[in-house]
Subunit: 340 residues, 2 copies
Amino acid sequence: MDPYGLRRVASPKGVLPQRADVLDPALPLGEDELSVDVEALNIDSASFRQLEAATGGDPAALGAAVARIVRERGKMQNPVTGSGGMLIGRVREVGPRHPAFEDLQPGERISTLVSLTLTPLVIDEVIGVHPEVERVDVRGRAIVFATGLWARLPTDMPERVALAALDVCGAPALVARHTRPGDRVLVIGAGKAGALVCAQAHQSLGGSGEIVAIDRSEAALSSLSEIGLVDRTIVLDATRGTETLQKVEQAGGFFDLVVNCASVPGTEMSSVLAVRDGGTVIFFSMATSFTAAALGAEGVGKDATLLIGNGYVPGHADLALDLLRKNRRLRALFESKYLR
Amino acid sequence: MDPYGLRRVASPKGVLPQRADVLDPALPLGEDELSVDVEALNIDSASFRQLEAATGGDPAALGAAVARIVRERGKMQNPVTGSGGMLIGRVREVGPRHPAFEDLQPGERISTLVSLTLTPLVIDEVIGVHPEVERVDVRGRAIVFATGLWARLPTDMPERVALAALDVCGAPALVARHTRPGDRVLVIGAGKAGALVCAQAHQSLGGSGEIVAIDRSEAALSSLSEIGLVDRTIVLDATRGTETLQKVEQAGGFFDLVVNCASVPGTEMSSVLAVRDGGTVIFFSMATSFTAAALGAEGVGKDATLLIGNGYVPGHADLALDLLRKNRRLRALFESKYLR
């Protein structure tokens, strides 16, 4: 048994797959491994942009660069940006001791929810490059470890809509766990993670409490209001702590739960200032600074629980997709954004 | 009322005191402010080292540099490192609407527990510079806001011992809150924060459960073992995830609570690998990378609660000092380290 894929690490020996320079995708399938016939790689944005610049915007050259990286490293981890992405494909074989052995059948379409930076991969052929969605269609094979997360691709909604939701599915799942009836919830950032968080909070509160959303973009806030997911919106740059403080006071005072889904750095202090003593802040923004959050709370003597938004909560993929299924208007919003 | 000291911000207008370039320490004392006759500044290590290098190791020149910064900025925030420190002094006046009005008397000796980067300060005279403890003795005056944390300096233990404990007092207080009887607790890092955390876990567990400490230094671990605060120690470099995984398996498997007090970067993955599903990791290390923790847990599908170690928990100062009072051998350890 090798739940973390340690035997696949070719160099340097002894590190975990994510930190490895080279993985070995060619070993026979382990008893607790899952193999996938890969159809497409959704390349991380930073990585795709770097490759685009390095190949002069030529899609064929970009595809060749991806193939070369995967040939050299046994995984699609951009050596410049260090980042990966996710993949889509059909289940090829499920090892008898893989946790999904009873659940997944060969031929089912899945998406990995773990990074390509730790996924052993072989590319046989690059079929096409789609810069507009940062996607590379390939024929290849990948390995998913026993601890590696994946999601069955739904057949009742467009793939791009499902992938957009799966990309941030940890956020609504963790919010479900930390929302109590009657809570006043503040959501910072009205992008796709913020929208799913509002939808989940709305469901968890069941009509009690209150949901307030903050964003710099009035348009982003309007689309949430129109769906009926928020009680109130505030147009506000959350990097400005003192303004946040004023607006929070005007909006009825401190919140029980603050959920940070901002896409920009510098919003930690606003999150801390907006929560009540004894309340909870969940940071999902990848731009979060650990020290800004910790020292910010100490600096104003705020006794709040500060959570790092763990991207994994059991059942998170189904939970996010179900939010889209239950809320027709939320799904229409996702379709308008991701089906262009 | 101005609990965050916004009116003291001279420039740029509208930011919080910590982000201000210049504070105004000269305004009359506000109703919810506290003033302190300052005796000494304990300068942040990074800041002190930078000033030492910039002044060629001349203590008098370093003292003059500190005085100049405070004259220009109205606070002791090193413009190069951005960091501050803490101060010690005697209470001068407590505003009638300051939370400590009933509790603190003029003349009592206190230490601030908020950073000098947000503390309005005037220096009348630099009295001495003590590079060995990164301390500058001064005559001056400082302001503490209503939200600003402070601690009464104890009279029953040496000042340096008390300050060493107060510096990390949030850690044992948060551990007290998250330790359940019977828990298996792993402490990463056997420095002063790790020692206080072990002492608190020992008390919270009341003989149940287990406490294991990890450190690269055998000497640091021995001093904890000798005090009887830990059930087991493991000499280990926690930046090596796979070794941590092996040792954790040998030590009886995953832990309910992992407390990261490491002083080096790169220990997030070990923390995540060591905790059980459903368990909790508290990150106190200021070297913690938010993304390494969040993506690390997702990468191995670990459903753990990941907490940012908030430096403030009500009662944290007394709790830490009481640990030293109750445990003679722990206090002796602190004396041997901080009374040199």
